[in-house]
């Protein structure tokens, strides 16, 4: 058993947003980076830095969800139960990296589901898969 999440090396990102494209394609059959579960903050003209923002798996969204519509999967991902989510948005302001959001095309909040498609296309090593084994408890 292991926990997996996306690891970010901010200095390596070149802001191409291929990760965001493939994320939206994989989940919504649509080319629309505004539906991606990660985003890239651009800090220009100074200092000149792209910061990928990804789910840190902190679990705050689960804690505040009034509907019990979010659960933690064994690999560490926080999964939205679409049928239960009322799109109330309580989880949005507590998300520190700011990657939980609503989109007018869907009636539930969008949260990263650990598919890691984004990491497959990153050509700079800015986002990679981080794996941490979990000790089996007695």
């Amino acid at each position: 058993m292991s926990i997996k999440r996306i690891r970010v090396s901010p200095g390596k990102c070149s802001g191409c947003r291929l990760c965001m494209q493939i994320c939206a394609i994989s989940h919504y059959d649509e080319i629309n980076p505004k539906k991606a579960s990660l985003k890239i903050e651009a800090h220009f003209p100074q200092p000149g830095l792209y910061k990928p923002k990804v789910c840190s798996q902190c679990g705050k969204c689960l804690e505040v969800c009034p509907e019990g519509a979010i659960y933690r999967r064994d690999d560490g991902a926080y999964i939205v139960i679409k049928a239960k989510c009322t799109n109330c948005g309580e989880c949005i302001p507590v998300c520190k990296p700011g990657v939980i959001f609503q989109h007018r095309d869907v009636d539930y909040v969008i949260i990263c589901d650990n598919c890691f498609k984004c990491t497959e296309l990153c050509n700079t090593g800015a986002i990679t898969i981080f794996t941490r084994p979990v000790r089996e408890s007695a």
């Binding site: 200095g11 802001g15 947003r17 493939i22 629309n32 539906k35 220009f44 000149g48 007018r104 296309l121």
Partner: protein, 645 residues
């Protein structure tokens, strides 16, 4: 409507027409037939300009159109699918003009739901175009007018929101400097043919776009599979690492070693101080971060900081190759920080660093030869290698002070004023300054500049490696390769994707056409793509002839330095082309295109390309090419795979 709700197969669905004179904004369903037959982007723009702009219209007048198009592939899941194409009748060349840039604006326009925006008229006051999904508005830009391009972008982002994609012009565009550019994403430019000057003439300071919709394509599953395979396969291509590290600046050193780098206004082709301005110097001294366009895994953009004693530190993207050569060796600069500072300066005032570098170099040579003096320069000098001199001169040009007025129209117009033999070294064709390669010992490259449809520009045909492989003093057989390149390379400007991945990562044209078919469902082959590109090329040629009303051949000559001066120094010392060789190349080129020996397209070739209407128009002016004695070639141009580097 916007947001792609009616769009399909790569298109966003809506085209907007705006009359800037009265503020009228109209939306139409995008003309899918036009997109299919003219391939969107450059092609659709060429057709609209040809059909709608009167032949005697002043490029700075209300009848000229200013068009932006995101083509059929921009914003789609395709490597480097990031471009946006701008077009208008060029104030620099007085022919069809187009120029494109990467970054994120093209995709944003599609995501907002629009394929094309066509603007006419002249606004009574400074405005900017505001697009936020369904909202399309002209907004007051008085507060931004006068700002530098690079300074304006962050202010507008602060005012509107970080997620708006913004394109701006600078004071050069506002003041009608004919080689002004459009700037976006803190250092991406549509530099050529003076598109920024046309924006300025229309009082259009900026374009701001936010789009939250998606793009639907014909077969997303196959597109994703196909493109993912291309990306993964090329991640380990041997050219990938140097591209990612240096971007196009890699070629500074390479061009010097191969003796094609323009030095001190193309006086020689080898630069003794190359080390200081090389790609390595850029990475070591200036690089902050690599910077990619939307969807591109090559990240050739280099975001940098330039520090010069006594000047504020400046942030910019670049210098890439063209700026590095034309504002580097071509101005005698010895330190990458000097080149980067001039890059920033020209970006910020809003002039094309290519034409800008060419114009400053031309003025420096005029100063070297005593054709202009300190008296003309408000007491300043204009010496090779001096940033201060260049900066002062650029200020005179941007504000059209004194002799700066002469140069505001480019080096050709300046030479006409200065005279005294200066025409010989005004390094331009059709009014547009040459790119950063000297063609005197690279005949295909020289022919590429001579015959380029928008004035001298390498983007349409780049043959340095062809010249090296086929013989640098041999001119025979070069025309057919130039014609082929002039068909394949502009296709990328039609589809609004970058061409670099094709040239550098061994991606076959057929693979790109396959992606095009998955996006559009057109189901075409590469041969049809080339022929459509040829049709666009010929239409643009006819447009040029109709506006300038003389045989095409008269416009296709480079300045006399190209044959009168042999290369004086470096590995190619003593080499050069003769006038006869240049004539031979033109003869071959016209025959290869199905044009007559005066450089005018024949009815036969125009008919074959379904351009009978254009044949009728040039015939009325006495400019229809005579029938070719042996008929036209069945296929124009010969496929050639240039070696990357």
């Amino acid at each position: 409507m916007a947001n792609g709700s009616t769009g399909s197969r790569g298109l966003a669905g809506t085209t907007v027409r705006i009359n800037l004179s009265n503020g009228e904004i109209k939306r139409y369903p995008t003309d899918e037939k036009l997109m299919r037959e003219w391939f969107g982007g450059r092609g659709a723009i060429a057709k609209i300009l040809y059909d709608e702009v009167p032949r005697d219209a002043d490029p700075f007048g209300p009848e000229n159109l200013f068009i932006m198009s995101a083509g059929v592939m921009s914003g789609c899941f395709i490597p480097s699918g990031a471009k946006i194409e701008f077009g208008s009748v060029s104030p620099l060349t007085n022919g069809h003009g187009d120029s494109n840039m990467g970054g994120h604006l093209g995709p944003a326009l599609k995501f907002a739901g629009y394929d094309m925006v066509i603007m006419s008229g002249i606004s009574p006051k400074p405005i900017y175009l505001f697009i936020d999904d369904d909202k399309v508005e002209l907004r007051d830009a008085t507060q931004y007018w006068g700002m530098g391009s690079l300074e304006c972008e962050p202010v507008m982002k602060q005012d509107l929101g970080e997620d708006f994609e913004i394109a701006t012009i600078g004071p050069a565009g506002e003041n009608g400097i004919r080689f002004s550019c459009i700037t976006h994403d803190f250092g991406r430019q549509a530099g050529r043919t003076g598109q920024g000057a046309v924006m300025g003439s229309k009082k259009l300071k900026a374009i701001a776009v936010r789009g939250t919709g998606g793009i639907k394509v014909h077969d997303l599953e196959k597109l994703t599979e196909h493109v993912t395979a291309i990306i993964k396969r090329t991640q380990t291509h041997p050219n990938m690492a140097p591209w990612q590290k240096y971007g196009t600046a890699f070629f500074i050193d390479w061009s010097n070693k191969n003796a094609v780098i323009p030095t001190r206004n193309f006086q020689t082709t080898y630069y003794e101080d190359i080390e200081g301005i090389s790609g390595e110097a850029l990475v070591q001294k200036c690089l902050i971060t690599h910077k990619a366009c939307f969807g591109c895994w090559m990240n050739c953009g280099k975001y940098t900081k330039a520090v010069l004693p006594g000047k504020q530190a400046v942030y910019l993207e670049g210098p890439e190759y063209e700026t590095g050569s034309l504002c580097g060796s071509n101005l005698g600069m010895t330190d990458i920080n000097q080149v980067a500072y001039l890059n920033w300066l020209m970006d910020n005032v809003g002039m094309d660093t290519m034409s800008g570098g060419g114009v400053v170099a031309f003025a420096m040579e005029c100063f070297q030869r005593g054709l202009i003096t300190s008296e003309d320069l408000e007491g300043h000098t204009l010496n090779w290698g001096s940033v201060e001199d260049a900066e002062h001169f650029i200020d005179m040009v941007v504000h059209r002070r004194g002799i700066g007025e002469y140069f505001s129209g480019g080096s050709k117009r300046a030479a006409e004023k200065i005279g005294r033999g200066s025409e010989k070294f005004a390094m331009q064709v059709k009014g547009q300054e040459m790119s950063g390669y000297d063609g005197r010992y690279a005949p295909g490259m020289l022919l590429s500049y001579m015959t380029c449809d928008i004035g001298a520009h390498h983007n349409r045909s780049w043959t340095i490696t062809v010249d090296m492989a086929e013989g640098r003093d041999k001119v025979e057989g070069r025309a057919k390769v130039v014609v082929y390149l002039q068909h394949i390379r502009p296709l990328f400007d039609c589809w609004c994707i970058c061409r670099l991945f094709w040239g550098e990562l061994d991606i076959e044209p057929e693979e790109i056409v396959e992606a095009l078919n998955y996006i559009t469902g057109w189901n075409i082959d590469a041969a049809e793509a080339f022929k459509t590109s040829e049709k666009i090329w010929n239409l643009v040629r006819c447009h040029y002839l109709e506006r300038n009303k003389a045989d095409g051949r008269t416009f296709d000559y480079p300045p006399a330095r190209s044959w009168e001066d042999k290369i004086p120094t470096g590995p190619s010392a003593g080499m050069g082309l003769s006038k006869e060789q240049i004539e031979t190349m033109l003869d071959e080129y016209y025959a290869c295109r199905g044009w007559d020996n005066n450089g005018n397209p024949s009815r036969e070739v125009l008919h074959d390309l379904k351009l009978d209407f254009a044949a009728d128009n040039i015939e009325k002016l006495g400019l229809l090419g005579k029938p070719l004695p042996n008929g036209i070639p069945a296929v124009r141009g010969e496929r050639y795979k240039p070696k990357a580097f």
